[in-house]
Symmetry: C2
Subunit: 482 residues, 2 copies
Amino acid sequence: MVNLKLILRALGFLLLVEGLAMLAAMVVAIIYKGSDIHAFVISSLICISLGLLLIVLTRKASTNIGKREGFTIVTLVWVVFSFFGSIPYILSGSIPNFTNAFFETISGFTTTGSSILDNIEALPKGILFWRSTTQWLGGMGIIVLSLAILPIFGIGGMQLYTAEVPGPVPDKISPKIQQTAKTLWGIYLLFTLTESLLLWIGGMSFFDAICHSFTTMATGGFSTKQASIAFWDSPFIHYVIIVFMVLAGTNFSLSYCALTGKLDRVLKDEEFRYYLLFILIFVILIFTGLLITENMGTEKAFRDSLFQVVSIITTTGYVTADYLLWYPCLTILIFALFFFGGSAGSTGGGIKIMRIVVLLKNSYYELKRMVHPNAVIPVRFNKHTVDTKIVTNVLAFFIIYFMIFILSTVLFSIIEPDLQSSMGAVATCLGNIGPGLGNVGPTETFMHIHPVGKWFLSFLMLLGRLELFTVLVLFSRSFWKG
Amino acid sequence: MVNLKLILRALGFLLLVEGLAMLAAMVVAIIYKGSDIHAFVISSLICISLGLLLIVLTRKASTNIGKREGFTIVTLVWVVFSFFGSIPYILSGSIPNFTNAFFETISGFTTTGSSILDNIEALPKGILFWRSTTQWLGGMGIIVLSLAILPIFGIGGMQLYTAEVPGPVPDKISPKIQQTAKTLWGIYLLFTLTESLLLWIGGMSFFDAICHSFTTMATGGFSTKQASIAFWDSPFIHYVIIVFMVLAGTNFSLSYCALTGKLDRVLKDEEFRYYLLFILIFVILIFTGLLITENMGTEKAFRDSLFQVVSIITTTGYVTADYLLWYPCLTILIFALFFFGGSAGSTGGGIKIMRIVVLLKNSYYELKRMVHPNAVIPVRFNKHTVDTKIVTNVLAFFIIYFMIFILSTVLFSIIEPDLQSSMGAVATCLGNIGPGLGNVGPTETFMHIHPVGKWFLSFLMLLGRLELFTVLVLFSRSFWKG
């Protein structure tokens, strides 16, 4: 039997959190005397009262949490949050249409950053703050999910990180997870505040600085400006954001190590080293390409390539240059980056560096295995032998990811009959990035997509954010049986 | 030490075969009193004399054949054949440029079918015959390679077929392989003759019937007409070619079973069943799509979808309709088929049905494994448990295939700055199909591609044809060491 009461209780607590976050947005709306105050009053009332009601009704729920409850809660949270989170958009009249409001909200909570808005500056400040907050909350959620919950359930090779959270599936959420979560959120908060301060010093308004720190640390990419970061023609602001995007795409456990003085552990971490290596390779290629093909200064070419590479690999999705206008080969390089993603245990989405490294190593070793068929050549990661089961799991993840990408592109092209736009929209939503290719490129929006397409892309965002398996398992019969 | 003498001796024998094949083309040239007689006289003389010379010089070579010799010979044969095979094109003036002639020849021997010719009907008959012969020989070569040689060396999961050729790596080419090869070539010849007869009855000239049978059975796709099979507006001819493309894409061991009365083994074969299933699914989708979006008769829509699906999945590459003019979603479906390929042990290229099935099964089981982490859930194929090593190998093959595809698309887009054309050209050459997308679509040629691009695509054809690993291993240091 599924512990339905516990699921509802968890949702109740989380709705309460969402309601409180809406209260914060209400305060912002009040400060700026916006037209959106009533929207937040009503929506926070709905969330808080419903949350309290659920908590009270389920106070006798047993605290036994198994796989079924875990997977269900994790998936439901994102859906329920997006459903209630879209209420302020609708009530304030900022996004009157429910499909559009839901798309914008789930794009927020999944830290994707794809937007249907085509006149962002016209929105009231409370709404802009709420929009950034959805991403910030989503980023918080994903840290706990990827560092504390997924490894326990053994999702997609995330067991490689069980060192932090050892032991078998626990019967209840252990105090250890709570402690880990608190520590990591502390770091998340610290980075957010530091970035806000730096951006403010760099010339952003205090409001914009906070909003952009929220969406940087979540690798979300929502901006308060239609032109995204390109709005600010300030190298300082660009470099600050680059640094914090890199941090947001790094495993938060590593940041913890660095902050507590264990810098050697950070520098020895294989995923971190490959992460920097991939950034370096792509920056060199694109920087060189820009110098050859575009008539621009060296620093600008370097900054543009670095910003776009970091923004895409970390799945943030901010832009300071329209990569669709680059020489096509460079655009295709950027598109290849759509299939990398941040580090495991970061707020970044996508396939993730750790998996890419395991894939690359296994492919290389497979050639060796062909030459020496009797030798046992295991994949090693961070000096440990990776269990064959985990390798198979990582390989399966990659293949399912690609199958979903191809199948979705075919399906999406029914309503969006352009291969490039279709591939771009699917890849960017599945990878939780933000901008795509063709008519959903960096200077375009998702407004013109058919409603059915918006729901489809919303589902892809969820699928990508929850590492595929979490969602897919819910559709499998054997999960619910016995 | 590598047995260099043996390698040269093997090449000598194979050059002799190529020279004799050129003599056959010379006979055709003489019959049609073409301007190309001298080209075949000279080129066959070169091949035969060089072949004999090599054989005589290496008559004392030891017959010890190991992995190194095997991989080297297999890779070299295709390169050497293409080099000498391009001589008739050059000498006859049909393709005066060496790069173009080499591209056309390797496209022939690898049974790809991509062409640089834009006025095929103007060529002398001897050259047209030679062009078809390169594919027919390539098809013959690939049957031995995939059924007799690759399983021994354990390439890309081909061990699944070692049932036919049991035992460890033999010291010399065993009489058993020779026997198997003879039997399979017998079937190949039988099918070729039967198809020729049927096409002749269907209204093709005797010459066209032979040439098209050659290129159908090789899943090559070279035609004697610029418009490919669309030249003949005859349902009978289309259906005959469909049937023989399906046969050419089927494991030749299975055809042997069918011909010797063991029809039940054929019907129980999992790869064969999935092969037909994939064809069925894609035909239903595209047929329905054509009925909805195009104004054409039911039979024509059915035939067009069936022909194109079978032509692409078997990697033949004939066309009776320009799929680029279809509703984009249908074109994308066809492009998805670029990543399937024929059965193992057929003349078809690409990823191969067997691998796709193992991938799909493993992905599905991985979900089950997530739910029951302690259960051992192996992949089963044809009622046998597939060794984890083989599963990992198949997964690695797929991933390397995709990495090569993505990397090559990026590289190729430097000289072909259009994403769609670039993806199409790379996918079609790597999969040994023929036509691509964009400016290398079914009604276009590869003539306009930059020479560097033509050499690059030639390399991809070879890589795809030899199941990646055969070629890649040659670049690995540990292969040549110790």
